[in-house]
Amino acid sequence: QVSELVQFLLVKDQKKIPIKRADMLKNVIREYKDAYSEIVNKAGRTLQEVFGLQLVEIDTKRHTYILINNLPRAKGEYLCREKEKEKMGLLLVILSFIFMKGNSVKDSALWEFLNLLRVYPGKQHRVFGDVRKLVMEEFVRQKYLEITPIPLTDPPEFKYQWGPRAEKETSKKEVLKFVAKIQGKDPTFWASQYSEAEA
């Protein structure tokens, strides 16, 4: 049962969409419902010991899980498909922007910024295709970004923040390091962001 669950989780993780407990129960655990916690815990241990992956519950109310990498960052090449890496590049840029701007940005501000990078919501991008869909749907579904409507705005506006997957897979400190590298400065250059990242 445990190894079935492990396989199930690994396959489900391919799209990076959080895994629901209900799916686990329906597809794998089924009649062993009572032993659910034990099976999940053992699966988590296997994932950690065999694959170096951590099973994290990102929503304790709706019981959804993600897999993250628990191994120390390897300095070598990343065995990742090119498309995935490019998307991560865009994501990192967006997460940095959100953090440096105080952890929350209006969608108009985000797109204004992305336009500077020749990325436009209405225009098919050579690499990313339908960028608006990528940012507003894919990244949100994967829980990298969280989008909330701003009440009583007309036309309706939204704000973007980091999603729970972003919180687990990276950190403010890492992102600040990235910004510092890009801008050729020391992270302490941005005093309040730095203290927030170190907290």
Binding site: V11, I68, K85, L90, K101, R126, P151, T170, Q183, Q193
Partner: protein, 263 residues
């Protein structure tokens, strides 16, 4: 837009508006008015939060325009060339190379602890996903390619004895070869084109195995064309059968093909 005016950090308009709302609320005695007041408070608090946010970034001097420029630099923008765009957009000058986001993609994973995605290498016997994939591959192979490769869609069953299966396979391959030649007698087929299955190394080897029977039995022959590459054609069923088998001297060829070469 009032909103912009209120956002201006130098203005006290928000404070004034709140004070006025407070005064007005004293006169409220109907629910609708109270609701309006609540609405106003929500808007006011949103604006207040935005103001606070702006203050925050001002304090730590993060300039998104400079950040964008530095990102473009990192991605390899060439500012001496002017990008020729057919639409007149307001683009900061410079030519962004096509691998710009690849460059970013090399850097980004270092900052994430992302679980590598798990894929089956060869497919397994148990799990659901790989099995349909194999079936699709076979069907695809059956329907693709030249007309003469119209193979029967039925796959031979595994229960058949190996001998029978091999014979059937050999016959089938002979028929394909002959059909091609009927349609186009002057074009011999490249041996490799004939046997190689781009989707399966194992199947390629199987094909070569079956073709070797045809050769052994004199039903097909392999020659070298002007480029020294092997071509295959069916032998003509002629009365001079004996001559053929003698003249087709027992040539032996060893073909070396490993997975790397096949790829």
């Amino acid at each position: 837009d009032n909103r912009e005016a209120m956002l201006n950090s130098k203005s006290n308009r928000l404070t004034e508006a709140l004070e006025e709302a407070n005064k007005l609320f004293d006169g409220v005695c109907r629910a609708r008015e109270a609701a309006l007041d609540a609405q106003f408070l929500v808007i006011a608090s949103n604006i207040g939060k935005e103001k606070a946010n702006e203050l925050h970034s001002e304090m730590s001097a993060f300039d998104s325009t400079t950040f964008a420029e530095d990102l473009l630099t990192f991605m390899g923008i060439n500012r001496t060339e002017v990008e020729e765009t057919d639409d007149s957009e307001d683009v900061p000058g410079g030519f962004l190379p096509s691998d710009a986001w690849q460059t970013m993609g090399e850097e980004a994973p270092k900052y994430f602890r992302r679980a590598p995605t798990f894929h089956y290498m060869m497919g397994s016997f148990k799990s659901e996903p790989p099995v349909p994939k194999q079936r699709i591959e076979r069907q695809k192979k059956a329907s693709r390619g030249k007309a003469e490769r119209a193979m029967p869609a039925q796959l031979k069953k595994m229960e058949e004895s190996h001998q029978e299966a091999t014979e059937k396979e050999v016959e089938r391959i002979l028929r394909i070869l002959q059909t091609h030649f009927e349609n186009d007698p002057n074009t011999p087929i490249s041996f490799f084109d004939f046997v190689i299955d781009p989707n399966s190394f194992a199947h390629t080897v199987e094909n070569m195995f079956h073709v070797s029977f045809l050769i052994r039995d004199g039903l097909a022959k392999i020659k070298l064309d002007e480029d020294e590459l092997p071509i295959i054609e069916p032998t003509k069923p002629s009365g001079t059968g004996e001559e053929e088998t003698r003249a087709g001297a027992r040539n032996q060829v060893v073909i070396n093909l490993d997975q790397k070469e096949w790829k």
